[in-house]
């Protein structure tokens, strides 16, 4: 019962912004499609394109900045460090809430795409089953980067900024990223913006694998409790 209670507390503690952000971002992207369609664009094609954009671009950004905002939010971290539950376990639970809620919204969008036959429309997304890696891989990767950056900087400001710029670099420098094998494997938007077709599965698995490594690094770093009570880096 106690673990369940802790999870309930963490979900409530996440606040309205964390609950609102994933559906809000998805809604804005869909709204853009509606406005675009009203402007004369192909309605179905635009909606499918934007739903995939919400899956692969919008939701990972939400998860990344959400994960970057976890460390440094407790007004009395010293108190957290005195309780039997390790503070880093609490932070990991909060990370699971952020990523889990984002994943639920992503699954809902994926279901909508299934209903409107959107997966068949985008062969580069590899179908509705393997295609879940469209959102899962970049979401886990950006969340892991955000979590690690939060652990390194001990605060959300610089960590959120780093996630934001990384997201923007991958959006804009598409051609430069395609030039090297290593950057193709770490490219977040391989489905929406394109990549070497044979690289897609490798790219998704590399993102998941590196996300696990980054997550472990953050976990180890958060074990140093003395760092955390010193407050934000700087």
């Amino acid at each position: 019962m106690r673990p369940l209670l802790l999870w309930r507390y963490e979900v409530r503690r996440a606040g309205w912004a964390a609950v609102l952000a994933p559906p809000l971002v998805a809604a804005i992207v869909v709204l853009l499609a509606v406005v675009d369609a009203a402007d004369g664009a192909d309605q179905r094609g635009t909606v499918i394109r934007n739903l995939f954009a919400a899956l692969e671009m919008g939701l990972p950004l939400v998860a990344g900045i959400g994960a970057a905002s976890l460390v440094g939010r407790d007004p009395a971290a010293e108190l957290q460090l005195t309780v039997p539950t390790p503070y880093r376990a609490t932070l990991l639970r909060r990370l699971a809430v952020v990523v889990g809620w984002t994943a639920l919204v992503a699954l809902l969008i994926a279901a909508v795409l299934l209903v409107i036959d959107g997966w068949a429309d985008r062969p580069q997304a590899h179908g509705a089953v393997v295609g879940q890696l469209v959102w899962l891989a970049p979401t886990l990767w950006l969340a892991a980067v955000g979590f690690l950056a939060g652990a390194v900087f001990r605060g959300p400001a610089a960590a959120g900024g780093l996630v934001a710029v990384l997201w923007m670099i991958e959006q804009i420098l598409t051609e430069a990223v395609q030039q090297h094998q290593w950057s193709r494997l770490l490219y977040l938007f391989a489905t929406s913006q394109g990549t070497v077709p044979a690289d897609w599965t490798g790219n998704r698995l590399t993102l998941v694998a590196t996300a696990i490594v980054l997550g472990i690094a953050a976990w180890l770093l958060l074990g140093g409790t003395e760092r955390l009570v010193r407050g934000e880096a700087g």
Partner: protein, 260 residues
Amino acid sequence: MIPTARYELRMMLRKRSMWISMAIIVGLLSLTAFRQISDAVRDNDARGVMTTVALLVNIFLPVGYGSLLADRLVRDQLLGVAPILDATGGSALARLFGKYLGVCAAAAVPLATVYFGFAVVYTVVSGRPAGLAWALAAFAVVLLPAVLFVGAFALAVPLIMPASLFRVLFVGYWFWGNAITPATMPTLANSLVSPIGGYPLSALLGYRDTVSAGPTPGASLNFLRPQPTPATAWLSIAVLFALAALALYAAHAIRARTTR
């Protein structure tokens, strides 16, 4: 006002996290676009290189410093020092403006370090000191107005929503409102209210690489995209300053209501 600005600037410049994250970003950009950077520093067209780099810097870095500045005003309330500061002699508006100038100056310092650092490398490698002059001009009319625009909204908007939600929405807005081609979907890109600086780049600095300002055939919102001329370029800068002033005034009004 001036002491608040100085204090805010010093606080921010001492944030190691700001400098470390900037170093990571510059390292990643250099690693990803090494060939393009190598080609650029050997290019003889000083104006073309420095305007292109100004545009790139203004695409990537505002989302970083916008996120970094998002907690600066709400931080006073979270730390419980806002009522103490309100009890001091200076007016709340002057203190807000001082904080605004301080955080904008703090955002401009690492930005200037990166941009002028590249300008110096370019000048040394290409032997064209004109690069430094173009860099100064681009910094003044492209990068600085963006800092002042972003700084105002980064201070004001987190008063009405959590900073993390502001960061997500701000990054989305920046991409949508600056980097999307207007023919693709309705966007504020290439318009007078686009803080990326397309109008000053085109009309004041002669940037010609790609269309960054002006009407796009078939695109919606073209009424916000007059032909780029020196007059519309200055108008674009003035519009950005006016919007920034509006955001700051809104921040002052919200703070006055919440601290009453």
